[in-house]
């Protein structure tokens, strides 16, 4: 039975679902990476995702326009980010606690709106898988990489863009300096507040897309607590990925691939109790985290509010 795991169908299945499952994590975790590199821990990602998911679903459901749905999700996420930025940057609130507050707000608000505006679980025609002539026809490879929907490609495209912005642009340098040494950055004329506003709002926008990728691209439904903890895993992936987009990508893929592997293990009837199978992604992620993360240092100013000394 174990040998079944290595058949072509199964390997293609594992890789293709792993790539899909990683999509919402990537959007949310890359957004969170920007925030954390500038010194702000946002635990409200899950709430931003939920509101984004509902907004996208509702707009797509009522207007039939998927792009308008994505745009609304981005706007809702950005507004949540704006509020988070005001609380953490202007009011210097404790970041962890206010993040939890925003998570609870998003959880409750998305459910309230769902109950009042939809009332029951509905489906919507989401982003279709796109067919790329030539590429999609390559056996195996085509099925894994070239028959996904647009939001999946967007997530992977985001990784090199985020890497480039963080490491090769002046803006990236400012973000990193604000996260490492805000006093020095401030004395050189970099506005700590403005940079943090930018990264938190960007993070919220991307979390909004993460939610939309679930509700109108991958699942095409909305239900109470649709994300069920995905946003918190995304925050963990930022630590896992050592605050680098490529590391985040590696973590998201590892976690998702093992998750799709365990789905196949059960489907193939390999004799492992289901409880052990569903634990696998978490256990392995913790093991890798323990083995690697002790070597990397978090941004020095992470979770520290910045107050200019006069």
């Amino acid at each position: 039975m174990i040998s079944d795991l290595f058949s072509v169908t199964v390997l293609i299945g594992i890789l293709a679902s792993g790539i899909r499952l990683a999509t919402p994590y990537l959007y949310a975790a890359i957004g969170e990476t920007f925030g954390q590199r500038s010194g702000v821990l946002n635990l409200g990602v899950e709430g931003q995702m939920l509101l984004g998911a509902f907004a996208a679903f509702y707009v797509a459901f009522t207007t039939g326009n998927l792009w308008l749905g994505v745009l609304t999700a981005m706007t809702v996420g950005a507004l949540m980010g704006l509020a988070m930025a005001y609380v953490t940057v202007n009011l210097n609130a404790e970041q962890g606690i206010s993040g939890i507050g925003f998570f609870l707000f998003g959880l409750g608000m998305s459910d309230l709106l769902f109950q009042k505006m939809l009332g029951t679980v509905e489906t919507v025609k989401g982003f279709p898988e796109i067919y790329i002539p030539g590429l999609s026809d390559i056996p195996g490879i085509g099925e894994i990489f070239f028959s996904q929907n647009l939001l999946v490609y967007g997530a992977y495209l985001l990784v090199p863009i985020a890497w480039f912005v963080l490491n090769k642009t002046t803006l990236g340098l400012k973000i990193r300096s604000v996260g490492e040494n805000p006093d020095a950055a401030d004395s050189l004329g970099v506005s700590v507040a403005r940079i943090r506003y930018f990264t938190i709002i960007l993070g919220g926008t991307l979390s909004g897309i993460a939610g939309a990728s679930l509700s109108i691209a991958l699942l095409n439904v909305f239900q109470q607590n649709l994300t069920s903890g995905l946003g918190f895993i995304a925050v963990a992936l930022v630590y896992f990925g050592a605050w680098r987009p490529v590391g985040v990508l590696a973590g998201a893929l590892l976690f998702s691939m093992i998750n799709s592997l365990q789905l196949w293990i059960q489907v193939l009837g390999i004799n492992i109790p289901s409880d052990i199978a569903v634990m696998m992604p978490y256990v392995l992620t913790i093991l890798v985290l323990v083995a690697t993360v002790s070597r990397v240092r978090a941004p020095s100013a992470l979770t520290k509010p910045f107050e200019r000394e006069n």
Partner: protein
């Protein structure tokens, strides 16, 4: 610092209020008149783990309460509910609140609420409690227990699934391998194998009642493994039903009628009709028996009904066999052997 502490409190309070009106504790028609039992309407309070519109477990109870209300009339039967009570501590607080408000019957609709109920019930000897799905009344004189023989509807669904499958590979998406879900899945498997002993039934427990994304991916996995008929149980299966519809793979539902979600692929759903059991409890309570008995919903007593999707294009190929199977299970000529 002061300003920040103040604002923090405000945000937390605001978010708590909002999450409170969003997730749990939505209340319906409840003029809180405390009258002596027997004179006013019969008053029921129910605490449920998920939303009343989950197309699954919680909705089955909500719909049943509505049917009881329709039958008895709104002036004779009132009910209030708290939904989304996935945190057992919150549920326990709600159960205690309802009990102290003098409801005739307080229902804890979830097996996870058992130990809380065991603690609370003795403090309110005048109030009747019910919980499910279980058979355990804890020997308390004011606790009723109820369960569903979900293996029966599972069996019928399995028989239909086996008849309609062409690839002879059938996939099952389950939550956690326990209780009602396990009964349904085991019954379903037995049903499939009774028609096609050499068919493959792939079962996948995803380890969660809420992870819609993983349930959806589990369905995709089944389809890649060759399944052309799927079923699943618990509220996270909405993700799987979506995938079934996208891939034009047949779906069998359970707990509530899931046809509305994917009319083109849903063939039939096993639906829980708790109203028979509720009526029995109400009669007992009115005559002074507050608990100590357990009830089982099954096909024979109408507690479980197989609701076909009349618009299904393949239904005619399986409906007759399904109906004979239902009759056989009702009169006992068919028995289900569970592993």
């Amino acid at each position: 610092m002061k300003k920040f502490a103040w604002f923090l409190t405000l945000i937390l309070a605001l978010s708590l209020i909002l999450s409170a009106c969003g997730a749990p504790a939505a209340t319906t028609e409840a003029p809180a008149a405390t009258e002596a039992p027997g004179s006013g309407p019969f008053r029921v309070a129910v605490v449920m783990p998920s939303a009343i519109n989950d197309l699954a477990f919680s909705q089955s109870m909500y719909d049943s309460l509505l049917r009881v209300q329709e039958e008895m009339g709104a002036e004779n039967f009132e009910f209030v509910y708290s939904e989304g009570m996935f945190v057992v501590d919150d549920a326990a607080a709600a159960i205690r609140d309802y009990a102290s408000q003098g409801y005739n019957l307080v229902i804890a609709h979830g097996s996870q609420y058992g130990s809380s109920l065991q603690e609370i019930a003795p403090d309110f000897p005048e109030t009747s409690f019910a919980w499910g799905t279980t058979v355990d009344t804890f020997g308390e004189p004011n606790i009723f227990a109820y369960e569903a023989a979900s293996q029966e509807g599972g069996f019928v669904n399995g028989v239909m699934a086996a008849t309609l499958s062409q690839s002879n590979v059938i996939g099952v998406v389950g939550p956690i391998e326990t209780g009602d879900a396990k009964l349904y899945v085991d019954g379903f498997k037995a049903g499939v194998l009774s028609v096609k002993p050499d068919a493959t039934v792939n079962v996948n427990y995803i380890g969660s009642f809420s992870d819609v994304a993983l349930a959806s991916e589990a369905a995709t996995t089944h389809i890649s493994a060759g399944a052309d008929v799927l079923t699943g149980t618990a509220q996270m299966v909405v993700g799987a039903i979506g995938k079934a519809e996208e891939n034009d793979v047949l779906w069998f539902g359970t707990q509530s009628n899931q046809t509305s979600l994917a009319p083109s692929v849903v063939v039939a759903s096993q639906v829980y009709h708790w109203e028979g059991i509720l009526n029995e409890m109400i009669t007992l309570i009115k005559s002074g028996t507050l608990g100590g008995q357990s009830f089982k919903a099954d096909l024979a007593n109408g507690g479980e009904v197989i609701e076909f999707n009349p618009d299904s294009t393949v239904l005619e190929n399986a409906q007759t066999l399904a109906e004979t199977t239902i009759e056989g299970l009702k009169d006992g000529s068919i028995t289900i052997t569970l592993p």
